[in-house]
Assembly symmetry: C2
Homo-oligomer: 224 residues x 2
Amino acid sequence: MKLAILGTGMVGRTIAARLATLGHEVALGTRDPNASRARPAPAGGQTLADWLAANPTVALMRFDDAARFGDMVLAALSGGGAVETLGAAASGIGAKILVDITNPLDFSRGMPPSLFVSNTDSLAEAIQRALPDARLVKTLNTVNANVMVEPGLVKGGEHTMFVCGNDPAARAEVADFLRTQFGWTDVMDLGDLTAARGMEAALHLWLKLWGAIGTPVFGIKVVR
Amino acid sequence: MKLAILGTGMVGRTIAARLATLGHEVALGTRDPNASRARPAPAGGQTLADWLAANPTVALMRFDDAARFGDMVLAALSGGGAVETLGAAASGIGAKILVDITNPLDFSRGMPPSLFVSNTDSLAEAIQRALPDARLVKTLNTVNANVMVEPGLVKGGEHTMFVCGNDPAARAEVADFLRTQFGWTDVMDLGDLTAARGMEAALHLWLKLWGAIGTPVFGIKVVR
């Protein structure tokens, strides 16, 4: 499968590496590939150039070229610029499935972050309004990047992932993708995109759980 | 133990009945006991007079009298009036442990409700500001009333309850109360009262889970 991952941060790289390992054709999208290749390493991290050298089958493309390349597009962007970035890549995304992994983090008040949209709206809904043709499915934003692609890191994978979106067939397709590609065993379909309000607001609790547990490698199981 | 439950709705009644069954001395607090006794039944429910007849050891008192009576005070109030009601009972609450079970539900936009405070503040923090002496501990607001007092209703009780508050000793005391009185086996201490933002925001996800599962009798297990 041809997969586009938009965003070259930790989440984008983790997902891209995993999908490339699984044998997919993977394009990593960024605003300006040359500038991204030249950028110094983030604090405690690897330069993108070094990362690409270590993951030689992953192609680096402009956002819109990557979106055009992919059969499915995954948005692993920072929340603040996501609507603008995806809007600019809308022609490449078209009516494809757009997997939205973003969180609307607001660091303007310091740590811990709050959310710049919440309660009666969500970033997922804002993205869907900007790209009305995209078959948007919100998922994966409730766990750490390593857990997203390898849920078995947490107690053999006995925890829950959620999907929501306005297109039931797209939700089912993404749920199947999570099961077959990443190994999620419990994927719950929460219905239309208003459920993204709860999935994004879960960040508040997630941050406190991270503090209490001392590692971001944990999961939430819906016991029923 | 002498326990005051403020609020005569489903949550207050469920907790009061359970604590009375366990042999505690229980006072149920309301604004005007005579008016509450005379009130017709809520839709699909029981009049308070009938409920009191079925739970004869539970005493009905004014909010402030009940608070004075209790060694510990549990707030099972509707979110909208909670700050005002608890403020009026502040002299009875004093420096006691105040267990805050409220959710800041806003039904003004119809169903499902949104929250009238969230993200950068919480109802628990608003209550604590109004009653700075109270040793406030937020808990139980993330599950259905029947699950609060009997977590074993869900898969033998293999799920998680949270406590937070600014007084570590009060958090530990309430966590112990939850274990010994209600049978919670996994109580996580999330630290200071800012964690209430996450615990209250969990309502958004809880409502969608209720819809997906078809019953409010479920729980969340933090897998770590």
